[in-house]
Symmetry: C2
Subunit: 474 residues, 2 copies
Amino acid sequence: MHSDSFLDLCRAAIGPQNVLTDAADKAPYLTDWRRRYTGDALAVLRPGTTEEVAAVMHACHAHKLAVVPQGGNTGLCGGATPGAGESAARGVVVLSLQRMNRVRQVDPLNNTITVEAGVILQQLQDVAREHGRLFPLSLAAEGSCTIGGNLSTNAGGTAVLRYGNTRELCLGLEVVNVRGEVWDGLRGLRKDNTGYDLRDLFIGAEGTLGIITAAVMKLFPAPRARVTALAAVKNPRAALALLAIAQSHASAMLTGFELMSAMCIDLVTKHFPQLRYPFSEHHPQLVLLELSDSESEDHARGIFETMMEAAFDAGVVTDAVVAESVQQSRDFWNLREHIPLAQVEEGKNVKHDIAVPISRVADFIETTDTLLQDAFPGSRMVTFGHLGDGNLHYNVSPPAGVDNDQFLKHQDAINLIVHNSVHAHNGSISAEHGLGQLKLEENRRYKSDVELAMMRAIKQALDPQELMNPGKVV
Amino acid sequence: MHSDSFLDLCRAAIGPQNVLTDAADKAPYLTDWRRRYTGDALAVLRPGTTEEVAAVMHACHAHKLAVVPQGGNTGLCGGATPGAGESAARGVVVLSLQRMNRVRQVDPLNNTITVEAGVILQQLQDVAREHGRLFPLSLAAEGSCTIGGNLSTNAGGTAVLRYGNTRELCLGLEVVNVRGEVWDGLRGLRKDNTGYDLRDLFIGAEGTLGIITAAVMKLFPAPRARVTALAAVKNPRAALALLAIAQSHASAMLTGFELMSAMCIDLVTKHFPQLRYPFSEHHPQLVLLELSDSESEDHARGIFETMMEAAFDAGVVTDAVVAESVQQSRDFWNLREHIPLAQVEEGKNVKHDIAVPISRVADFIETTDTLLQDAFPGSRMVTFGHLGDGNLHYNVSPPAGVDNDQFLKHQDAINLIVHNSVHAHNGSISAEHGLGQLKLEENRRYKSDVELAMMRAIKQALDPQELMNPGKVV
C-alpha cells in the first residue's frame, strides 16, 4: 500500500518509535485541549532535528500528504489538529515539534536566545532569567505551550503593551518548507534590509506556509523591581483616561494595564473565596497596573504615587491600592488570572477575543453591551483583558437563572452581533488567538476581496498543492 | 501611438498638469540625489489621491508599463529611480507620491497618526509634537524624505535602539496593487491575528510588490527630558561593555547609543572647527549616549551618574561628560551628525551600511580592519554608527596622500572584503538603506537559493508581469 512505503521512509528517517500509528498513541495529538476539534491522521511524526523535519516533509511532499504542524497543542482555535473528516478526503499526518526542544544559544550581549520550536515558553523564560535577562512573553498556557506555536499564532498575552506580540520578539527563523528544504533565516540582527520580510510571513501563518523549526528571540535586561497597583474606575472611559495618565508618567515602565469588570470580580470571589479583594467597596471596573523598574521598588512606588495623585485630581480614579509587597502584587495578579478559571466553574459562556483601536474601546463596550441587552436581555458581561492593547476578552454569560447550554444555542447570533460591532469599530475578530478552524469562515465575512486574494496568492506561491495545514487561515 | 492613449488616460485621471512628459520637468525625478543613477521614463505621474493612484496603476497595467514609485527621492541605493536603459527595453513611468501629503487623522488616545505616503518625515514629527506625542523615527534626510519612502525601505536611523525600525512603528497600510486595486489595511490595532502579515511584506519591499499610499503609524508619549552624554572608551569591545551597563541601568530610557572612531572626530574637527570637542585629550573611540526620561532632567542626570560610576568602576570608560544643558546635548549630537558632512568635505570614500549581532561588533571591526590593512595598507577607517543596533557605517578612506578617485578604483575589492566578513559574522550587507539597484547583484551572492526562490515566488504571486519597480530587490 501507498502509505506503507511512506511510513517506512519516515521510520528510517526519524526512528520507528517516533512514527505513531496506533490509535491510542495518536489520540492525544488528534484532539485540541478544549476538546472542540477531533480529526484523524495516518500517523503522528515526531522528528527530533531540523534535518529530520526536512526528511519527513520531503516524504510527505513526495506522497502528496497533508501536514498539520503541532507544538504544545494548547491553541484555542483548532489550528493544530486535523480538521474533522480531513483524512477521509486525503492522507494527513500530524507533525509534532515537541522533541525539538533544545536551547541552541544564549547571547546575553546581543540580548538574544536561539531556541528550537518545541521549547516550552516557561523554559525559555527560565533560561533568560538564569542569564539575568527577561523574555517577556507571558500567557496562561506558558507551562505547556511551545515557542513554535507562539510564533505560528503570533501569541499576545499580558506584556504586549510594552514588549509587543510574539512577532515583535522575534529576530530570525529557521523554516522547513513544503518541499522539505531548510531556510536558515536565524539572524540575530536588529537591522536587516536585504529583501522581503519572510520572517513575518511565517509568523502568524499557523503552519499553513511552512514549519518553523527554530527562532532567534529577543531578550531584555531584567527589571530590578516590579510593582503592581489596583485602581477602581467608574467605567471603561475612565479606564482609558487612566491609561493616558499612566503612559505619560511611566512611559515604557508601564508593562501591564488590565481591565476587569465588576462581573469578573464577582465570579472570582464567588468561586475562589480565598483570594483577597483589597477594597472595602464594590466598584464597577478595576484596572490592574504593573510597573517594571530598572532602578528600585521605591522608585516604582514613587512613580505610582505621582501617577495616582494626578488620576485622583483629574477625577479619573475613585480608589486605588499600590501593592506593598511582592506577595500583594501576586495577589492582585491572582484576581486577574483567576477570571478564566472562574468562568470554567460558572459554566460555559460565549467567548470573544477581539481588539479595537484603544480610543474606541469604551464606545465599543457601550454600543455592543446595548445591542446584546436588546437581543438577549439580562445577559451578563464578563469583560476583561489587555486594555492597554485594545484587546478584550468580551465574554457573554447567560442571564441569572438561564441554563448555560440553552444559552449557548444563541452562540452564532451573539457572535454576529459582537463581530459586526467589532468590524464597525475598525477592529479585529481575532486579536491574539489566530483563526485556525474556528474563525476561518467568519474571517472571510469581514476581509475585503483584495486582501483575501493576496492571501490566497501567497499561499499558492509557497504551497501550491495546499499540503500545509489545510483548512486553516485561508 | 500606444503611449498617446495611455497619456490621455492619465491626463483625464489626474489632470494634465500632473502628467510630466517634458524632459526638463521629468529630470529631477529621473536621477537620485547622489547622482549615481539616471534612467528615463515615458512620463512622471503625480496623482494626488488614492483613487488617482489606483486609476494610473490601472492604466499602467492595461498598457503593460513598468512603474517606479518615488517619495522624496532621498534613497541611497537607487531604489526610486528607473534603471539605466530600462525604458529602452519597455515603457516605464515614475509615479511620484509627493502630492499625497495629507495627515488624515491623529488619535492621541490610540497613540496613532494616519498619514499619506507623501508626508515629509519632519512634518510627521512636528504634528506628533503638537499633540504632545513623539514620532521617534529620525534620520539625516528627515527634512525631505517621505514616510512612504521610509516604509518602503524600512528606514532605521538613530532611535531604533528603543523604538525599532520603520517597520516596528507601523500598524497598518493602504496599498494600491499592480492591477490598480486598493487594499485598505489601515488598521490602528496593537493586536490582530486574522491572516497573513501583508503589512510587513510591503514594508521594505521598495515598491516592488505594490504602492504604499497611506499608513497608520505609532506615536509615543513625549519624554519630559532628553539628556546626552559622551563617553571615551579604549576600543569597540569596551563600547559594548558600556552598552550592557547602560541597558542594565537605563533599560528603555536608553534611546541613543552611537559609536564614533577617533578618525571620525578628527575629520569633523578638521572640517568644522567651530564644533566643540568636550575632552582635553584625544580618545580612540567615543560613545554618544542619550536618555529619554518621562520624569525630569534631574532624574535622567541621576541615572547617568549611577551608570557612569558603574562603568568607571568596571574599567570600561576612561572619561565621560554628561551634557549640562539642552545646548550641550545638541553640541554632542552635532559632532555625530557632522560625520557624513565631514566625509563629503574630505572627498569620496568606500561606504558600507552593515549590521552584525551586537555581540560580534568588536570581532567584526578587528577582523575586517586587519583584512583591509593587509590588502590596502594605510587605509583610514571612518567607522561610526548605531552601535546599540549592531549597525555600523563602516567606511574606508584612502591612506593619507592617496587620491580619492584613485582609491575608489578598489571599491569592488574593498566591498568584497567587507561584505564577506559581514557574511562570516552572520551579518547584513544592508542594515538600513535597502537594496535598490546598488546591492541587487551583491545580495544574490550571500542569500541562499531557498530564500531567493521564496522571494521570487512572492514577487511572482503579487506582480506576475514584473511591472512594479523592475530591476530592484529581486
